[in-house]
Amino acid sequence: MKKNNFLLLSLLLALSVVLAACNFGGSKEDSGSTSTDGTSSKELNLVLTSEPPSLHPQLATDSASNAILQNVFEGLTTVKDGEVVKAMAEDIQVSEDNLTYTFTLRDAKWSNGDTVTAQDFEYAWKFALNPASASEYASILYPIKGAQSYNEGEGAVEDVAIKVVDEKTLEVTLENPTPYFLELTAFKTYYPIHSKTAEANANWAADAGDNYITNGPFTLADWQHSGSITLEKNETYWDAANVALNKVNISMVENEATAATMFDAGEIDFLGAPYQTVGLDVINRYKEEGILNIQDYAAIYVYKFNTTGEFTKNANIRKALTLAIDRQGLIDNITKGEQTPALGMVPKAIKGFEEDRGYFKDNDLEEAKKALAAGMQELGITDPSQIQINLSINTSEAHAAIAQFVQEGWHKNLGIDVTIDNSEWQVYLDKVSNLDYDVARMGWIADYNDAYTFLEQYDSAKNGNNDTGWEHPEYASLLKQSITETDADARIELLKQAEAVAMSEFPIAPVYYYTNLFVKKDYVENMAPDSLGNVQLKYVDINK
């Protein structure tokens, strides 16, 4: 009896070993990268930080999804080297008042051979605006006349000014002249989708396969959820002759250190946003090896102030805190990515804002102390140690290190006691949007290359992205004027004036303008993120 039990146990054990062995050969046997000789096949190996939450152009919101979408779909326009170029559109006519855009489509095909039609665009855009679709990025279509009221459930779909003139002609009327509209048409929410498939199967984007029909340079050949994505050259793409890569293998690797090790081991050919990031651990080494590339990125890292907070309600205190940040020291020693100290609200990667506007100087302790003294007087405080500030962060990336660096600076130079309050991400978001903080870190990445995307959020305290409680009538009116201003230079001037208004009251302390860091193998050519962080695999070539 006893022996039988043990026999049974060992049998079970043996069985489980067999079972265990079974799973390896299964669906995950996908060693495409090593099976064929890389020299002639033009294969690129990449890693992505996470599983894309959605590969539906109108439903996707994040950078992982975007990294795939922008290579399998193509909008009316696309951005190449910072300039808008025509893509699906062969011709674009803009009316005199800058309100009506007429797009003539080129003769392009979907990956199943069907022609890309104006209806496909109309369908996709109206799908995004349909309240029932609950598209999180629908608001990026709001420049189109009638779009906002339809999306918010007030207007009708017929009133949305997207008109299919004929199969090849699309006419769009805007609410206001929007100088960056052609930047927007390059954005993922503006991509077309194959309307027949999408109508027939609402879940068409959930998997690779016959339903996933694309019009971009690549097709989605395979999608192992949470594991890997394979892109293959789209032979029906209109510009297929200029696409060099045959295949792109993308595995999902969440760990930064693992991705770096994979790059070192030669398993991947490129490392850097959006295809994982170059971690702090390896930056110095890559710099020494001379392979680290640094590109300006249209994104800003800021500390927001709660302008209703006990101490941060005072503009002079906010000014003192803003000035007493040693941005260059922070960049040189902590973030290490050759970021630019942010002395304004709009990154220098944005057109018209390349030069510093001179609102304040980095680490200007003298002015900071003056402002602090003035602020304390206004608040009726005699000693800076009476000021208690909570610095709120979410603990990821370098936020904790940056916060501790700034904390020590404020403590040492201003004598202010700062407590770091870190929270889980969603708890943090909740705190920030409820103004339950004093100082909070936030990042902002441009969707399109225009200063408006950075300034618009502070137009009113009610704006969902403001989170500071700050508003200013002059700021709001300048922004309003910029919407209707048709002259590009005058418009930028208005936006700069608005920025100056904000930078006199400091609802935020700009910290730095991001850069994108990347490393690539020598044989990878033409691969670099643009100022919006997009990498177009269309232009990438491999020469081994």
Binding site: N23, A138, N203, H225, S251, N255, A265, Q426, L429
Partner: protein
């Protein structure tokens, strides 16, 4: 015995109900939403999203929905991963975690018991010190550090294993070891201590006196009785290990189930939270039941119905 098991099944159902209820209210209380991001969108869109996923229903309707989901074992669509069903997500990733988990368990049990027995047999002699030191190292160096070190040195520097991924047996060796070592250390310590307790029992002395060899005695007599605390630990441990380890999967880029336990919560992906919780709970509750049944197999003196009055 059958009656006992039946009774336990009833308790399992009750426990499951409590777990679902507790999880539901915790989800309700936790701030955030599956759609929250740094970039807020107009309140109208938020309302549309809530309506689409039924988050605008009163709590008792949502609660009822989760109970029905649990009974039918269909948790619906993920709120984060559009168009993906929770069931599919579990079904795709669980076999991977199970494979890795079984491998890790075999390693943990094998090495753990071996080291434990050696320690006990050579109590307070060199082999004991060596085995105990290794076991303590295993316990005190957490898997995330170990995994990083093994990946960097064994896989990258020495090229003995692939760095990451899940494409064959070779890919599973390092992660399995990384998971196993802490548990192996603990099992070794546990085995050692209960072996020592048994080794002075009369029946062990009797066996030795009968002329049985040291090792034969261990395997025929001592170990069997010494395994009781180990088995207790193994039940819940198995449930935890076969459902995946977030950190190890992350470091080795393994598309397993473990990550869903963590990311579903940080994403507030309510349907996936509930699905993975129920799935894990069932495995755990049954693992604990099996342990209790094993008790009476290992030690017939243990009666499952409890103390007699």
């Amino acid at each position: 015995m059958l009656k006992y098991i039946f009774k336990r099944l009833v308790y399992i159902l009750i426990a499951l109900w409590v777990i679902v209820t507790a999880t539901f209210f915790l989800m309700q209380l936790a701030p955030g939403s599956p759609f929250a991001s740094e970039r807020s969108f107009p309140p109208q869109i938020e309302a549309q999203l809530n309506a689409k996923y039924g988050l605008d229903n009163p709590w008792y309707v949502q609660y009822k929905d989760y109970l029905i989901d649990t009974v039918t074992f269909d948790f619906g669509e993920s709120m984060k991963y559009k168009g993906r069903s929770t069931n599919d997500m579990i079904a795709e990733s669980f076999p991977i975690s199970l494979t890795l988990g079984i491998e890790a368990m075999i390693l943990a049990i094998g090495f753990g018991i071996l080291f434990g027995v050696i320690s006990a047999l050579y109590h307070n002699k060199f082999p004991d010190y060596l085995a105990s030191t290794l076991a303590v190292l295993g316990i005190s160096v957490p898997s995330f550090i170990l995994a990083g070190l093994m990946q960097y040195f064994l896989a990258f520097k020495l090229g003995m294993f692939p760095v990451s991924g899940w494409k064959g047996f070779a890919y599973s060796i390092l992660p399995a070891f990384a998971i196993a070592i802490t548990h192996a250390g603990f099992i070794a310590k546990l085995t050692r201590s209960s072996m020592l307790e048994q080794s002075n029992s009369d029946y062990v002395k009797m066996a030795r006196a009968k002329g049985l060899g040291k090792w034969t005695t261990v395997f025929k007599h001592t170990l069997r009785n010494a395994l009781l605390p180990v088995v207790t630990y193994l039940g819940p441990l198995t449930a935890g290990v076969v459902t995946g380890s977030f950190i190890i999967e992350q470091i080795f880029a393994i598309p397993g189930l473990g990550k869903h336990f963590v990311t579903s919560i940080t994403n507030r992906d309510y349907t996936v939270i509930m699905g993975t919780t129920v799935f894990y709970s069932i495995i755990l509750l049954f693992a604990v039941l099996i342990v209790d049944i094993l008790y009476s197999v290992i030690d017939p003196r243990i009666k499952l119905r409890g103390a007699k009055k």
